[in-house]
Each structure stands twice: as C-alpha cells, then as structure tokens.
C-alpha cells in the first residue's frame, strides 16, 4: 500500500435519507480523516415561508416518513405559543402525549428489531446475506411477530389521536381536535399486557447482549461527550413531550439546567462547515471546540434525574451502573436506552389510557396572539426544535429547525472516524464487514439525514475506493 486512498460509502444504508461517508487513507494505510457528508440540501425552511400558521403542523410532517408525529407536535407547540396559549386543556395535552408515546414506541421498535437486531444477534462481521431481518425471523419468528405487532400498536395509537396513521391532523394551534372514544381506549388497553411483556423481553435481550459483550460495547466508537435533553420542569425527570433544557458534561456535571427552551438560540450556536449541508451546533458557553454534545435515548438516560415510571427507572439504574452511576458513553448503549424508553412509553400509555381526561370535551384554548413561536420536543432520535415567526396575515416569515441528527452531527462524525481508525487502518483489503462496522456506528445514532424520495431505481449503496489521483480502484453497488 503506497498511495493514499479515499473510500466512499454513499449513501449509507439503513438510515434515513441520503448521506455519504468518505474515509481518507494516508500512504501507510492509516485512516487520516473520516467524514459523514450530507449531500442533499433540504430547503424546508424556505419552503414553509408564506404558509399559514394553521397548516404548519400538518405540512411539516412531510419532513419525514418515519417520525412525522415528532414534527407535527413540535410545530403545534410552536403554534400554541403564537396563538398565545401557554397551557393546554388537560384533554389536549394528554391526547398529544399519548400520540407522542405511541410514536416514540413504534419508532424505537422499528429501529431495534429491524435495523439493529441483525448486527447484534449475528455480529457485525457476519456475512451480509446472514445479517438481515429475514434471518432474524427465520431463527426467531416470535421476535419478528412481536416487532410487527408492537409497531402496529404504536400506529393504532397515532391513528386514534392524530386521526390518521400518516400526516395526521390531531394537534392544532392551542389544542387538539378530538378526544379518545371509550371503545378505542378499551381496544388499546386490551393489548397493553402483551406490549409490556414484549417490551421487557426485548429490553432483556439487548441488556444481556450488552453485558455479554461489554468489551466490544465499551470499545466501539465510544468517547466522552456532553449531553443535551429536555427534562421535566422542577424535578428533572424524563419528559419526552415538554420541559426545560438541560446540558450535562461527560461526568454528569451541569452546564446549564432548567433553561427555558425559547432561549435555545442564546444557549446554542449553529456552526457551518464547507463540506456538509448539515450544521454543527455547539453550546455557546463552551465554544466550538469543547461545546459539541449528543442527544437521543442515551443522552436522555444520562441527563435526567430519574424516570417517573418504575420499570423503566429500574432499567435505567442498571444501565448507569455499568459506569458507576456516571454518564454512559458507549454508543452501542443507545440500543439499551432505546428499549428502556419503549418500556417507559408502554407504562405511560397505560397511565394515560386510565385517565378520564382523555374523554374530556374541552379541547382548545385561546390567548393573545404573538408573532413568534418555539416548540421543542424529545423526538425518538433526540431533541427537536421548531422556531417560527409569522406576520399579521398569519403567514410564516421565518423558520428554523434543529433536528436530532443535526444536534448529533459532531458525534456522528467522531463515531465514523473512531470505527474507521480501528477497523480499516493498515488493512490490505477493505471487506464488506469492515464497512458495515462504520455503518453500525452511524445506525446506533439512528440518524434521519433527510426524507428522501424512494422511487424505484433510486438509492443504491455505492462504495468507491479511490487512490490519491482520484482514480476509482474498487467499486461496489448494492441495489435498494
């Protein structure tokens, strides 16, 4: 190996949207640089300008085919602020929370069972033809069946609260447009026993995997970082729907706490780099070098003081015990955290379904109109910020979004490099298994790079290896 080489993985498979990984090798074959590029510019913030504030919570769902509810609710919260509503009627808030827990649950289930489980059950270096969900189902058909039924349960909750499984209209500025009929409630309650059992079984599976493979988990793309999350106002509990911002450092010390999220732009800076369309946010008080942070399920486990549902809190304590109660930094522990949140959502759904407020009829509040609104939520992949300004004609004049994957941009890039250095440096040949390790690190963050068209014939996986002169010396393509 005498010439520097460039390895490209484009687009990354099994993540949302389009991305490209480039790994530069030096003349000795060591990894010199590794980057995750976002190659598609969304333009959504421009697209939304001129739209009426009432339609924004519906339109923003086009951002993503897999977590539209998160955008729906974040936009609705921003519009609550614009219509002057600081406190929703109990029925409205609880219906929105139910919608959100259903969404987080079904999103996490999809990620774990269908995207992560092949890697975890068969190993990163297993042959590609073995490392897929079909093989998981062949070996563990009950696992596959449960995954689909848990997905369906989450989708049924979304349909019951948002009106439709796709592009629902449930959350409106100032409230919600429906309550939960008794018969729908009872149909959901009848499934909860299975959901709780299956969530616990899945949690045990990933916990046991982690504990059995501790050296691998601790060494795989693991590095210290700060973490950012909403926490519940007052007591710092996990709250996926609402709260204040908290940032903790790698040892769990507070960087800021209980900060009103409408001040996000005072606390965070959105940096840009020439080689990616995706911004690189950092904590203003720490500066661009030290201020990067991570969000998501593991970040939430690290940032909150506790979880207010008993089964999930007990599971969180076991997770944190792996690092003596300190923040857990292993990226693969995100899978464990994700399953803790599935259990938390099931517990929350049970509590809500027994709450008679869901059958209330006071659905919408009103207030004094404002020009600006900011809505923040903890989406499945992490913190999500929607910020709008509207004019006197109710038309949007300004929009700024910080999605979870943008928060995680620096962490994703560092994870890619960490794995690339370990798996690819000084290797005479680059195997599919090695490249998959890079993708495993990316998938652990569950990134949503963009909501891309999926028309037939598009989105192959292209891997190109180039020498210093830019000549392609190896090329692989996987059709989608």
């Amino acid at each position: 190996m005498s010439e520097p080489r460039l390895i490209e993985i484009s687009p990354v498979t099994r993540v949302e949207g389009h991305g490209k990984v480039t790994i530069h090798l030096d003349a000795e074959g060591a990894v010199d640089e590794a980057r995750l590029h976002i190659v598609e510019f969304r333009g959504f913030e421009r697209f939304i300008r001129g739209r009426l504030l009432w339609e924004v919570p519906v339109i923003v769902q086009r951002l993503c085919g897999i977590c539209p509810v998160s955008h729906h609710l974040a936009a609705a919260k921003a519009m609550d602020m614009i219509v002057g509503v600081d406190e929703l009627p109990p029925t409205a808030e609880k219906m929105r929370r139910l919608m959100h827990y259903g969404q987080v649950m079904q999103s996490h289930v999809l990620h774990f069972f269908h995207l992560a489980s092949p890697d975890l059950l068969f190993g990163f270096q297993a042959p590609a033809e073995k490392r897929n969900i079909f093989e998981v189902i062949a070996e563990q058909p009950e696992l596959g069946r449960r995954a689909i039924l848990m997905r369906k349960f989450g989708q049924d909750i979304i349909e019951a609260t948002a009106g439709k499984k796709i592009h629902g209209t449930g959350a409106i500025p100032g409230g919600i447009n429906r309550n939960l009929p008794i018969e729908t409630r009872d149909a959901l309650l009848a499934q909860l026993g299975d959901m709780e059992t299956w969530a616990q079984d899945a949690l045990a599976l990933v916990r046991d995997y982690t504990l059995t493979n501790l050296d691998l988990v601790r060494g795989f793309a693991a590095f210290d970082s700060s973490y950012l999350s909403l926490v519940r106002t007052g007591d710092g509990a996990l709250d996926l729907y609402h709260g204040n911002l908290r940032a903790v450092d790698a040892e769990g010390g507070m960087i800021f706490d209980q900060a009103d999220y409408t001040r996000y732009h005072e606390l965070l800076v959105e940096d840009v780099r020439s080689w990616s369309y995706m911004k690189f946010p950092f904590i203003r008080s720490l500066g661009p070098g030290e201020g990067w942070y991570r969000v998501g399920p593991l970040a939430r486990m690290n940032a909150v003081d506790f979880i207010d549902t008993p089964l999930a809190e007990a599971a969180r304590q076991k997770l944190l015990a792996q690092n003596h109660g300190m923040p857990q930094h292993a990226v693969l522990a995100n899978h464990w955290a994700r399953l803790i949140e599935v259990l938390h959502c099931v517990e929350k759904i049970r509590t809500l379904l027994h709450d008679p407020d869901l059958q209330g009829t006071d659905l919408v509040a009103t207030g004094t109109r404002r020009q600006e609104g900011i809505g923040v939520i903890e989406a499945p992949r992490g913190n999500l910020i929607h910020h709008y300004e509207v004019d006197e004609n109710d038309q949007v004049t300004y929009c700024n979004l910080i999605v979870s994957t943008t928060h995680n941009n620096e962490g994703l890039n560092r994870a890619v490099k960490a794995v690339a250095v370990r798996a690819l440096s000084h290797q005479p040949t680059i195997t599919e298994g090695m490249l998959n390790e890079v993708e495993v690190a990316i998938r652990a963050y569950d990134p949503c790079l963009s909501c891309a068209t999926h028309a037939l014939g598009q989105m192959p996986l292209i891997v190109e290896i180039m020498d210093a002169a830019g000549t392609v010396i190896d090329h692989r393509t996987k059709d989608s």
């Binding site: 099994r14 333009g43 959504f44 086009r62 269908h114 969900i133 689909i148 999926h454 014939g457």
Partner: protein, 148 residues
C-alpha cells in the same frame, strides 16, 4: 379482497404518483378493493398483505419504460429493509415468512420525471403516465381472476 397500496411523498413532485393513484382508486368504488395510501411501505403492512387475496403496489419509477409498467412480483429477500426503504418484494417476503401468506402480487410502476423536493403536484409527463396507468389498472382489476 384486492389490496392496492400506493406509496410515495406527495411533497416531492412525481414521487406522489403512488398516493395520487391510491386516492383515485379509492374514488372508483370498486367492489372488493381496499386501498392504502402511505408515505412509504412499512413492515406492519405485511399483516394487511397477508389478509389479501391479491395485492397491487403502485409506486413512481425513475427508470424502466416510459409510461407505466405492470408486472407480477415475487417475494424476495434480496432487498435490505430500513426505516425509509422497504421494497414491495421484501414486504411480500415478510408476509410469507411471518404469516405463511403468498397472495399473488403485482407492481404498477408509473414513470415520473420530476422528483425535486418539497413541491406539490405532478409533472405534465407524470399526469399523462397516470392516465395510462388507470387503464392498465382497470384492465388488470377486472380481468385478472382472483385465486380460488
């Protein structure tokens, strides 16, 4: 029951061919036709597929014949499953593996030309192809016999 699943993102121009077609099909009030319109195929669609006597998937296509193409589809495990991508052949394979169901399946691919992000409406070419696809679909629906 005949199941039609039209899928795609209506906010990305001709990628909305599938949902547009599903909306049109639902308005035809065809006996025994159940229509699903979705942003994308999802694993839980395997449950509905498993209950169908025959299935037709409707998607936009960026390659292949100009106009539209209607072809039988077999279950296949050659396609990766991810959050945003689930090939209909892979969905059929899930239905077969998990529910032992193998309904006859077809893919109606309608050629699109404009997939620019974040705009509504079909291109003129896609509108023409949409009209061709209606005839192909109705011919298939009325003449392709249901399995016993």
């Amino acid at each position: 029951m005949t199941l039609l699943i039209g899928y795609g993102n209506p906010g990305r121009g001709d990628d909305g061919l599938g949902p547009s077609f599903a909306a049109w099909a639902a308005e035809q009030d065809l006996a025994g036709l159940e229509v699903i319109s979705d942003f994308q195929l999802k694993v839980e669609h395997a449950m509905t597929v498993a209950d169908a006597a025959r299935v037709i998937f409707v998607d936009s296509s960026v390659d292949g014949a100009v106009g539209c193409d209607l072809a039988p589809l077999e279950p296949s495990q050659d396609f990766a499953i991810d959050s945003h991508r689930l090939h209909p052949a892979a969905l059929l394979s899930l239905a077969k593996l998990m529910f032992n169901a193998t309904p006859p399946a077809y893919l109606l691919a309608i050629h699109g030309t404009d997939f620019d992000m974040l705009h509504d409406g079909l291109s003129p070419q896609a509108e023409d192809n949409f009209a061709l696809a209606k005839d192909r679909f109705l011919g298939w629906f009325h003449t392709e016999s249901l399995p016993c």
